[in-house]
């Protein structure tokens, strides 16, 4: 018989060692919970030594120890290396007479072990044995069945402690993550609120209060249905609670992106926010249980955009100024000559009543023409920042637009054909509509000016809820590559100095701001744009 019969390796030794390392318990400081278990084990079994021993590659290391100085011993001599091969308690009543241990240095040496009883402890995840809870004595002895049962129960407790240790580590990691998330949540520049399926605000970040300009009391547990909310749309009409993005996201289960809302607090100018709302499904629920809504203050961006609209409008006005001067001065010349004729006739006492009436009528009619031009100019240049959509007769807006660009059309010999019935009423902002139409007509004039027999046609088609106002010109359509880019700001195909590239992009935004749409119709053989306007109800 050779020196000290070494224990065989566990059949799943590699995985067993991997499990042990994964626990990250080797060479850690003593812990009170483990020490209490060894203390109880020692007491119950009446042994001077009790250990929680973990069987590593080359050593057994003691997580907890009673009655022993050493922190580890060689695995070659370890009783525990034998014990982990058992499913239940491993008991050596007298090591000195046991053929496996009689010449073991731990038996023959100073320690002089005679008695050993160990119960395997298992990794909570892989369930493989990683060590033992064992009791040791220097004299031969035995354990009662109750003591063995208690030792096994305590080994179970060690297993539970290991499980708790894993849970605690996971929890710690989760908590760290949570702290990072919470910090990020609170430091975001965008406001964020979490709402339940009753639309009540459950949580919010600091920016939410700042962006919305409200206090905690005004936000927490409040919903979009709260009567204190005073929200408006871009066109100034009220934002109904059921239209709020969080409510729509909750009821449809679909994320809501880039909704613009104005929030009025007192008499101050509305604060404009852009909102994104996403439904959350917890526990695989069919219907969303929560919504998370983010929003950013776009008031200053909106103001810049309004200034851009205004600049574009003024730029168009500047371009029109020459034509306008001519358009107004020509009828004024008629009035001037007619008035001079009357004055001269009076001065020479040569008054022919019929001629005077004829001249006066001529003046009246000409004044009407000038008034029409001024009305159109006023409609066009009206500041629309605070305007709300209103019911307008579509044909009137078209007449006003044509008045503004008639001179240009005549000058470029462009035939204009209008087929818009007088009874179509839409909900719109007249100044915006005029700006869009004028942009489209100006673009058409620039595009078809040098082509033979140029023409522009303005027509309407009605759908259930909308009037489709089409502006078609004699051009042969827009190439695909340009179609994709033409609505972007500053994109232009015009020669330098002829266009700012703001026209179509701004027109599209103007249309959106009054709940209308502007798009290119690629199905037409001629160049055609469509303005889709909501019908007045």
């Amino acid at each position: 018989m050779g020196f000290n019969l070494k224990a065989q390796h566990h059949p799943q030794e590699a995985e067993r060692l991997k499990s042990l390392l994964h626990l990250k318990i080797l060479d850690t400081y003593p812990e009170r919970e483990f020490d209490q278990i060894t203390k109880i084990a020692s007491y119950i079994c009446g042994t001077p030594i009790a250990l929680i021993s973990l069987v590593d590659t080359q050593r057994q290391w003691f997580k907890s120890k009673i009655g022993l100085e050493a922190t580890q011993t060689s695995r070659d001599f370890a009783f525990c290396a034998h014990a982990i091969l058992q499913t239940g308690p491993f008991i050596v009543k007298n090591a000195a007479s046991d053929e496996r241990f009689f010449d073991n240095p731990l038996v023959t040496g100073d320690l002089g072990i005679k008695f050993y009883a160990g119960v395997p402890i298992n990794d909570p995840i892989s369930k493989l044995p990683i060590g033992t809870l064992c009791v040791i004595d220097k004299k031969t002895r035995d354990l009662s069945s109750e003591q063995i049962e208690m030792l096994s129960a305590l080994a179970e407790q060690v297993n539970s402690l290991l499980q708790l240790r894993i849970d605690y580590k996971e929890l710690k990691k989760f908590e760290e993550k949570l702290i990072i998330h919470r910090t990020a949540f609170n430091q975001m520049l965008e406001g964020m609120v979490l709402q339940n399926n009753k639309d009540e605000v459950l949580d919010y970040n600091q920016a939410a209060l700042t962006v919305l300009g409200v206090t905690e009391d005004q936000l927490l547990k409040k919903s979009s249905f709260d009567p204190e909310w005073n929200a408006i749309k871009l066109d100034g009409s009220p934002f109904e609670p059921y239209e709020h993005p969080s409510v729509v996201a909750m009821t449809t289960g679909m994320p809501q992106a880039n909704t613009i809302m104005g929030i009025k607090v007192g008499a101050a100018e509305p604060r404009w926010i852009m909102i994104n709302s996403t439904p959350i499904h917890l526990d695989s629920e069919k219907n969303p249980t929560h919504t998370v809504t983010t929003f950013a203050d776009i008031t200053s961006a909106k103001r810049s955009e309004e200034q851009l609209y205004y600049s574009a409008k003024m730029s168009s006005l500047g371009e029109m100024a020459a034509g306008m001067a001519h358009e107004i001065n020509t009828p004024l010349a008629i009035i001037s000559i007619a008035a001079e004729n009357i004055r001269m006739a009076c001065a020479h006492s040569n008054v022919d009543i019929e001629t005077v009436i004829k001249k006066a009528n001529q003046i009246d009619a000409t004044v009407g023409k000038i008034a029409q031009i001024i009305t159109s100019l006023r409609s066009y240049s009206r500041s629309s920042v605070t305007d709300k959509t209103e019911e307008i007769v579509l044909s009137n807006s078209i007449k006003e637009t044509i008045t503004l660009c008639q001179e240009k059309l005549t000058l470029h010999q462009i035939e204009i054909n209008i087929d818009v019935p007088n009874d179509i009423k839409v909900r719109s902002l007249n100044s915006h509509l005029l700006q869009i139409l004028l942009n489209l007509i100006n673009n058409s004039v620039d595009a078809i000016d040098q082509t033979p027999n140029p023409w522009i046609k303005i027509e309407t088609k009605l759908t259930k809820d909308s009037a489709l106002l089409t502006v078609t010109d004699s051009g042969k359509g827009i190439p695909l590559g340009i179609q994709e880019k033409m609505m972007r700001p500053f994109f232009t195909t015009k020669s330098p100095g002829k266009g700012t590239g703001l026209g179509l992009g701004i027109s599209q935004r103007l249309a959106e701001s009054m709940n209308a749409k502007l798009y290119y119709d690629p199905s037409s053989t001629q160049t055609r744009f469509v303005i889709e306007l909501p019908l007045a109800k």
């Binding site: 034509g323 001519h326 001065n329 020509t330 010349a333 000559i337 001529q362 000058l411 470029h412 010999q413």
Partner: protein, 129 residues
Amino acid sequence: MEYNSLKDCSILVVDDEVELCELVVEEFKKTGAQVTMATSGFEGIQRVLNKNFDIVFTDIRMSNGDGYFLAKEIQKLNLTNLFVFFYSGHCELTLEELKTLNVSGVFKKPQSFRIILQTLDKFIAEKRR
């Protein structure tokens, strides 16, 4: 009011606003001048090619040949006794540019037509002196 110089003149009035064109023609006729009317630059140059005029009194912004076109075409004919005047609600040309086009003057709409007549009468009188 007598317009001694204008009354012997042959004048071409060009304006695409027919109502105004007719009124202007009527006013010139009152001076005793012989007046012809055209409603575009293209029509105007045809009249100039077919008849001798002393004055061409033309609008600038017109379709079918504007006032600039008409002035350039007349310049090509090198007619030393024909004087071109613009009558416009808006003129973007500088004095230098007007000289290059050989335009003798610009009358702004609306302006007292009596003053226009007096100015033209005086202008012709000086040219004939």
